[in-house]
Symmetry: C2
Subunit: 328 residues, 2 copies
């Protein structure tokens, strides 16, 4: 540490501890991120130079697909290969349903004695915006700490979540037989984000039919693509027994090799960093919008809008002008 | 129509038709809104002067709570009182599940011959951002058309949805026995947005227990509040038979009277208009951010970030500067 950075030393000190592998400091920084403390940003910026090395696997599948169990099995298998694993489990439950909070605690305990595993759940408290803010930061922290593989686990609700899985190096889409297969297969967005399809609970009756449907869907999607393009395989697992998990990891590796061969790994990292910077800029602008709505000039505009003296278009102009002034 | 507005006449003409009650033109404008066509905004601005009169009821409850059936019963009861009803049903399904699309079509047909009812579903295609854009616009259209009561129906996933229900005049939170009652009751956010709690499927075993839990929760929340504050009642319905629906509408009216008495109705309208204007301004800025990321100057920044030559904080500064320049 040099003199000219002494003003930032608390941030730097926390960053140093995290880079040294201090789990407690990492957990504390994650809490600061959750609380949107400005100190968190400063520490993250200190960590940034040490990021970009982890391989990120995104897994999405709806509740009941056995996602958590499968991720647990994957963690076990990766650990057996001496790879360290950081896991971010997103729990975007509605304000109504209980979600996996308790389940996550049980999982954390299960791996609690293994220093090669770090599992953090993101409880979004019904706020999907919250997960888009926290998750990229959590991944950066785990990346900077040197975990080899990062797994982001999420149910596929909402754009913010889909974005997070889309930004992974390998995106795994989990399905199970018997969930209205034909409908689920045709939902938009899935085809584009999936690098691997996994049919979990593949010992169930509907598995062969689901596999046929997914394959014919992929055949259609493959038309007009280059021979050289990645073609998502359809795999089968039974997470409760571990069946198919090794094969799944083999395919993740095959996809990784393909990314390396096509020089796409670095591009993925660049896209993630860009997404993160855009998100932070958008956050700053949100605050400027709120400040604008708090201004005296807006009080007048609100009155006029409420009285229908002028329309929303003019209201937008006034608000944009307030943002522009704040930026100047 | 005067000469100086002739350039806008297609927008004005569409607006005139909608104000005249033309269902087809309204449906067409809603499609334009869904497609984010800029023409939609111009027509909405023409309609704006005619908005602010409808009473808006928001209903939220998770899938399986019988929400759609209850709303149907409410529509029937409101129609029996000669009130016209516009309904916006939000369907924020994950890319995986089929959702209520088919169900909504059935409902539309059911009321198809009744000119006093207009039901529109918002299919969000996994994009929660989409609903926050479309729904306020749909409500404005129905408001301008002169429907007395507007009902917004949504499952409680995500901030955008919670916002929409929060911005209603009366927010109804629907629960059912047997969904992990203790957990669902304690989820944050619900207490603050609910003006009325409804236990649907109240003929089920767990109803008395759920009622006790909700009431004691409300007792705790009521501590420290003014006597004069609205205290959310806990109602019971069996939507399939229509039991309790009249009572529910009585309580909506009681809440409306309370709002009028406290001069809050106009404030609600002002909050909705402000929310809409803020959303449009945010949309404009989103486009400026994307344009910034498309610029040559950002190509350099992306490279530098990817190489870790500088950190995200500096990246954010560059992006903000690009937005500022675009605003000037």
């Amino acid at each position: 540490m040099t003199d000219d950075t002494s003003a930032e030393s608390p941030h730097r000190e926390m960053a140093e501890r995290i880079l040294g592998g201090d789990i407690r400091s990492a957990a504390r920084l994650m809490r600061l991120v959750d609380d949107e403390a400005s100190a968190a940003t400063a520490v993250l910026d200190e960590l940034f130079a040490h990021t970009g090395d982890a391989y990120i696997i995104g897994i999405t599948g709806n509740p009941g697909s056995g996602k958590s169990t499968l991720v647990d099995r994957m963690i076990e298998a990766l650990r057996a290969q001496d790879l360290t694993v950081g896991c971010v489990a997103i729990d975007p439950t509605s304000p109504f349903s209980g979600g996996a909070i308790l389940g996550d605690r049980v999982r954390m305990q299960r791996h609690a004695l293994d220093e090669g595993v770090f599992i953090r759940s993101v409880a979004t408290r019904g706020n999907l915006g919250g997960l888009s803010r926290s998750t990229p930061a959590f991944l950066q922290i785990l990346d900077a700490m040197g975990y080899d593989i990062l797994v982001v686990e999420t149910v596929g609700v909402g754009q913010a979540e889909v974005d997070i899985v889309r930004l992974a190096d390998t995106s795994v889409v989990l399905t199970v037989p018997g969930l209205g297969d034909d409908i689920q297969a045709h939902k938009a967005g899935l085809l584009e984000i999936a690098d691997l399809f996994v049919i979990n609970k593949a010992d169930r009756d509907g598995a062969p039919r689901l596999r046929r449907e997914l394959r014919s869907m992929l055949d259609i999607a493959a038309q007009g693509r280059d021979e050289d393009d990645w073609r998502p395989p359809v795999l089968e697992t039974v997470a409760t027994t571990g069946e198919g998990v090794e094969r799944l990891l083999d395919e993740v590796r095959a996809h990784r090799d393909w990314l390396v061969e096509h020089e796409l790994l670095r591009l993925n990292d660049a896209r993630r960093v860009e997404h993160y910077v855009r998100m932070r800029a958008a956050g700053r602008i949100e605050r400027l919008l709120d400040a604008g709505l708090d201004s005296e000039r807006w009080d007048e505009a609100r009155e006029a809008l409420s009285a229908r003296s002028f329309g929303p278009d003019h209201g937008v102009d006034i608000l944009m002008e307030l943002v522009r002034e704040a930026l100047s």
